[in-house]
Symmetry: C2
Subunit: 325 residues, 2 copies
Amino acid sequence: MVNIVIDMMGGDNGFKATSEAVKTFLENNNDTFLTLVGNKEDIEIFKDYKNVKLVESETVVKMDADPMAALKDTKSSLMVAVKELLDNNYDAIISAGSTGALLTAGIFKVKRIEGIKRPGLITSFPTLLGDKKTVVIDLGANLVNTSEELHQFAKLGKIYYSLAYKVEKPTVYQLNNGTEEEKGRDINKEAFELLKNDESINFCGNIEARDVLSGSADVVVTDGFSGNIFLKATEGGVKAMSKLLKEAFKKNVATMIGYLFLRGAVKDLKAKMDYKNVGGAMLIGLNKIVVKAHGNSDPQSFLSAINLTKKLAEQNIVEKIKGEI
Amino acid sequence: MVNIVIDMMGGDNGFKATSEAVKTFLENNNDTFLTLVGNKEDIEIFKDYKNVKLVESETVVKMDADPMAALKDTKSSLMVAVKELLDNNYDAIISAGSTGALLTAGIFKVKRIEGIKRPGLITSFPTLLGDKKTVVIDLGANLVNTSEELHQFAKLGKIYYSLAYKVEKPTVYQLNNGTEEEKGRDINKEAFELLKNDESINFCGNIEARDVLSGSADVVVTDGFSGNIFLKATEGGVKAMSKLLKEAFKKNVATMIGYLFLRGAVKDLKAKMDYKNVGGAMLIGLNKIVVKAHGNSDPQSFLSAINLTKKLAEQNIVEKIKGEI
């Protein structure tokens, strides 16, 4: 049985969001063991559930906490959860709390798999091709990377995509400032060579940031700083359009009537492009599955993160990485 | 009188787009001298216009041409235009052709202003604050930059914004992976220090990519590679939303009816977010005004580029930069 530890207090919406998600998850899954970490008076509502262990914590790491300082707050829900994970050799941990604190705890406590140079933050993006997803790694676990690290991200991304989406030979692209082979900085040119010459990877060349959401790529590899810019700029573009659309609907009586006819379709559209529905981001390359749910998680998005984590744990993603690196 | 040289053949839509734009411009401006460079049989239609000089070229640089090779094609509309600019000491050049070729010609032929370390590509982005624009520099003229170059981009961005939008002390932000002072790579931390300590710049700290379109910043400074990712990812997010919106309208009879009521408002929204309406990007820091109109320019967007160029030339942006650097 898969064992997942959950930080119940992290995230902007804290226990309110995580508890709803956990309830729904438990109603639909009797083959997963959850360790729920949080304030005593909160988590008590789960005391009669099966396959659940409750562990008390006292504090909550703030969303903007200094990561290294957060590591020392051993009574926080995050650090108690990390301890549970390691002491009991469980499979996975999920938190919607501070990204920096979770990444730092992951790197320093859960630690890298032997042979992994740097872990990477990986998540799925919606695309214009129906349900097809594209994963991007690294989204900001690192600031600067070498070409060898980009090469390794490609391997990690490939394993992740295969397990998450049942695709045997996912296509791999490098995020770059142009599609031609000679484009980019030295690191990009070197990585292109390494990827091109690795027969285990289905490398298809460079991709520009404007084309990622079109869905042609399965896996996109980037250094962490550029990946972070990519993630947030994409989000900014989508959010700006959403806001302007909302204003357009409110413009006058005619547009308000139009909205009545379009409500459902527009809701679907917004849900599709909502980064909260992708199931969180995994810090991949560590000895355990470490999943960061979105800080602004609602019950639905936190539930997606638990479901994704279960899927990856059942397929032994960590062991598969150890086998391939 | 301001003198502008125009490459009439560059761009995906070539003479068809540029000629319409030039006609409209000439109808509304009798205080600007235009040198139009292109195929003899094409440009002849302008022979009876006032304040126009026609110069023949024979070839056209391909959109994906190798920039250094393009420099040697001295009979191309781009290189003939560059020669006209320099031989006659005109003020500005505009081309919708190959970005790489124009940037390379700008750097090697038009050359940097003394004291400028690296020129930067600068353009305006629409924001959620009505007509307010935010400019970002560098969007990809460079691959790797130093913190001193970022500092200089801030000075160039400030001058550009002041002249283009009549704002005396534009706010300057650094594009980074977080807003806190200690965020980012070494180059970002160093640039933060330089910007903070320069009293001539109204530096307001770091900004994340997701917040640029909100319009809080006047000028955003970034290295060229990250800027290029930012530009294209933003464009990708906006384009994806536009496509999904189009699909939503076509979903069923109800949504099609809804669209009839919303058509005008949605058209306004798309026009607002269309990068083609911003008037092109300037390669700033050179001895002349070098403006890259969008490769996919239609008459309206090419006209915006001519209008912007005239505005910057009338205000002597090159002399102002020389005075401040």
